[in-house]
Amino acid sequence: MAIYLTQESKVLVQGMTGAEGMKHTRRMLAAGTDVVGGVNPRKAGRTVDFDDRAVPVFGSVREGIERTGADVTVVFVPPAFARAAVVEAADAGIGLAVVITEGIPVHDSVALTAHARTRGTRVIGPNCPGLITPGQSNAGIIPPDITKPGRVGLVSKSGTLTYQLMYELRDIGFSTCVGIGGDPVVGTSHIDCLTAFEEDPDTELIVLIGEIGGDAEERAAAHVRAHVTKPVVAYIAGFTAPEGRTMGHAGAIVSGSSGTARAKKEALEAAGVRVGSTPTETARHVLAVLDGAVGDGVVRGEAVREGAVRDGVVRDEAVRDGARA
C-alpha cells in the first residue's frame, strides 16, 4: 500500500515531448514508473524511445486513457497551457493529475482545481515536485534513488526540504512522499495527505513540512488534533523571513502578523506534534518516535543537539550516524 500512487498506477505525461518532459520521463521510467504514454496533439501516433522502452504519443488524454487504462497524468506543459491541460485530463476522467509546471497564473490555478473537483480528479500541485512511492512508482521530479520503501509518510510544501528529509531518513524509508507545492492555491492540502496517511496501513508515522505563508499548517494542526492517531513530526521553514517579502515560492510570504513560522510551530505543538528546529533535528525526532522513545523523545533530542553543536561538523555526523544505526 501507499497513498495516491502505487506500482499499479498507469501514468501519462502531458508535455512529454518537451525538454523537461523528456528528461523526467526517462527518469520516471528508470525508477520503475509505468509510463504508458505521452500526450501531444501535434505528435500523435509517433513513439518516443527511452533507452529500452518505446512510449506512444496520443493526441488527447481521452485517447490515452482509452488505449492504456491510464489513471495518472503528470503535467509538464508551459504555464499558459496548464489550465487547459488539466481541464482536458479531468474531463477525460483521469483520477490523479500531478502538475509540475511552475508559474501558473493564480486565476488559472483556481479554475483548474475547482474544475477538477467537479470531475472527481485529485490535483497535486501546481508548482510541485510530484510524489513518489519508493520501489513502486515515481510521478514527477523527486530523485528516486535517495531512499527506499519504508513506513514513514511525508507531505511537504518544499521540494528540496523533502529531499533533505528523505536523505536524513534514508535508512528508515518511506511509504509515499508527496510534494504539494508552494503556490498560494494548490489542489491537495496537508490535510488531504494526513487523512490518506492515517488510513494507509503501511504508514506508521507522518512527517509534515511547512513554510511561511497562509494558514495551511494551522489548519493541519487542528486536523491532527481531531482526526490523526498516528504520530506526526513536523518541520517549518522561514523563521527568519522578513515581513512582506516573497521567499522563492509564490505563496511563501508573511503578511502582517499572519503566516509566520512561529504561529505554525505553536499551533502544531499545541496539537501534540513534535516540531524540529532543523531538518536534522526533525529526523532525530522521527527516529526517537520509531524507536519507541516517545515519552522522553523531545528531551533526548535536545540533549543530542546540544552535544552535537559543541564541536561542530564531525561530531554532528557521528551523532546522526549513531542515531540511525
Binding site: Y163, D215, A261
Partner: protein
C-alpha cells in the same frame, strides 16, 4: 505586484467604475495647475505602496491652488513606512454621505476568491473587522460563475450596502478577472450627498505569474531599489537582501529558508536569501556567488545544496569559476549532498582554495559559517531564532 492608487484608479475607470477626477504629478508647481483645473479645491495624496498614508500626514485637503502647491511640496519626498513619496495624486474632493468597504481577495484556505464587504468603510475598517466581525460580510465566489447581478445583490444584502452599489460590485469583479488581480479593494466606496456611488480610494495587487498575458505592465515590473537585489534580478536570480552577515546560497526555496533559520539558530544573522533553483548550471552558481560576495555586509558565505535535479558537480564547478572571477576575500563553507555530491566535493578538494572549506552536514556547515562571521568563538546553535 502592488499598483499605486492612481494606477488602480485608472483600471477602475476603464471598467466603468465611477472615480473622482484626478491627476498625478511629481512637481509642486504642476500641482497648483492641476488644482486650478479641478476647480480650486483638491485632495493631495501621497502615492506609495503602503497603508496608513493619512495617519502619516500623506493626505491633505487643499482649499485653493496655492495650498495644493504647498501640500504637494510638503508631501513629495516624505518617508512613509520606509517608502519615499515620488508622486502625488490631486483629486477632486466630494461631499461624502456614507462610506462603505468592498473587496475581492484570494482566499488560500478555500482555493478561491472571497467577496468582503461592509457598510462601515473608511480608515477604521480593520478595527471594525476585529471588534465587530458581524459587520463585515465574507462571501465565497464560485469561480465557475463569477459575480453577476444576482451574486452582487447577495453580497450587498449581506453587508447592508444600498442597491446602488450592485453595479460597482459587478464591475469590480471584472477588474479582478480581466487584470489577473489577486486583490481589488475599494475603501472607501462612498455615496455622495448627491447620491452618486464613487470609488474614492483603491488598492490592486496583480499576479506576477500572469504578467506574460497582461502586456500593459511589461515595463512596470518591479525592480528593487536595493542595488544588490536589482543586480541579482537582472541575472534572473531569486535573491532577497537581509540585514545580517552570513551570505546564504542554496537550491530550492524551502531549503534556503531553512538554511537561514539554522544560521540564525547558530547565533549569526543571514545576509540574504538566494535560491539558485532546480537544475542550476555552473553559470547560475557563479553569478549567485559573485552577487553575494560583493555584499559589503557579508563576512562569510554558506553554500548549502542538496542535489535532487541539481548536480553537485555543476555547483562545485560554478564555485570554482567564481573563485577565479571574483577573487574572494571572505571564507566560504560548502555543504554538498545528493546528486553527484562525491564528484562535486572532489572538484573543490582539487581546487584547494585556502578560503573554501567543506562540511558534511547542513547543521555543521551553518555552525561553521556562523562562527566565521561572528568571530565570537562561542557561536553555538540553539534552535529557533527570533
Amino acid at each position: 505586484m502592488d499598483l499605486y492608487e492612481h494606477q488602480a484608479r485608472e483600471l477602475f475607470k476603464e471598467h466603468g467604475i465611477v472615480v473622482p477626477r484626478a491627476e498625478v504629478t511629481d512637481s509642486p508647481q504642476r500641482a497648483r495647475e492641476i488644482a486650478r483645473a479641478l476647480g480650486g479645491r483638491a485632495v493631495v495624496k501621497a502615492q506609495v505602496k503602503t497603508g496608513g498614508r493619512g495617519k502619516a500626514g500623506g493626505v491633505r485637503l487643499a482649499a485653493d491652488p496655492a495650498e495644493a502647491e504647498e501640500a504637494a511640496r510638503h508631501i513629495l519626498g516624505m518617508d512613509i513606512k520606509g517608502h519615499t513619496v515620488g508622486t502625488v495624486m490631486l483629486a477632486e474632493p466630494c461631499d461624502i454621505e456614507r462610506e462603505f468597504y468592498v473587496s475581492y481577495v484570494l482566499d488560500r484556505a478555500s482555493g478561491g476568491f472571497l467577496a468582503i464587504a461592509s457598510a462601515e468603510g473608511g480608515t477604521e475598517i480593520e478595527e471594525v473587522a476585529a471588534r465587530r466581525p458581524e459587520a463585515v460580510a465574507r462571501i465565497p465566489v464560485d469561480p465557475a460563475t463569477g459575480v453577476h447581478t444576482a451574486t452582487a445583490v447577495r453580497i450587498a444584502d449581506a453587508a447592508g450596502l444600498p442597491p446602488q452599489t450592485v453595479d460597482t460590485l459587478v464591475r469590480l469583479w471584472k477588474v479582478l478577472v480581466r487584470e489577473d488581480a489577486l486583490l481589488v479593494e475599494v475603501n472607501p466606496l462612498v455615496r455622495t450627498v448627491e447620491g452618486r456611488i464613487v470609488a474614492l480610494d483603491g488598492k490592486v495587487t496583480l499576479d506576477d505569474n500572469a504578467l506574460f498575458r497582461q502586456s500593459r505592465w511589461g515595463e512596470e515590473r518591479p525592480t528593487s531599489d536595493n542595488p544588490l537585489e536589482a543586480r541579482a534580478g537582472a541575472k534572473g536570480l531569486n535573491y532577497v537582501k537581509l540585514d545580517g552577515e552570513v551570505g546564504v546560497i542554496g537550491n530550492g526555496a524551502g531549503l534556503v529558508m531553512s538554511t537561514l533559520d539554522v544560521v540564525a539558530g547558530c547565533g549569526a544573522r543571514p545576509a540574504n536569501f538566494l535560491d539558485i533553483g532546480g537544475g542550476a548550471s555552473a553559470r547560475v552558481m557563479a553569478d549567485g556567488l559573485s552577487v553575494v560576495l560583493s555584499d559589503p555586509d557579508v563576512k562569510s558565505v554558506l553554500v548549502n545544496v542538496f542535489g535532487g535535479i541539481t548536480a553537485c558537480d555543476a555547483v562545485a564547478d560554478g564555485i570554482v569559476r567564481a573563485l577565479d572571477e571574483v577573487r574572494p576575500t571572505k571564507p566560504l563553507v560548502v555543504r554538498l549532498d545528493g546528486n553527484n555530491a562525491a564528484r562535486g566535493r572532489a572538484l573543490l578538494d582539487a581546487r584547494a582554495h585556502p578560503l573554501v572549506e567543506q562540511a558534511t552536514t547542513m547543521d555543521g556547515a551553518a555552525s561553521r559559517a556562523a562562527r566565521l562571521a561572528t568571530a565570537a568563538s562561542t557561536a553555538g546553535c540553539t534552535g529557533h531564532a527570533g
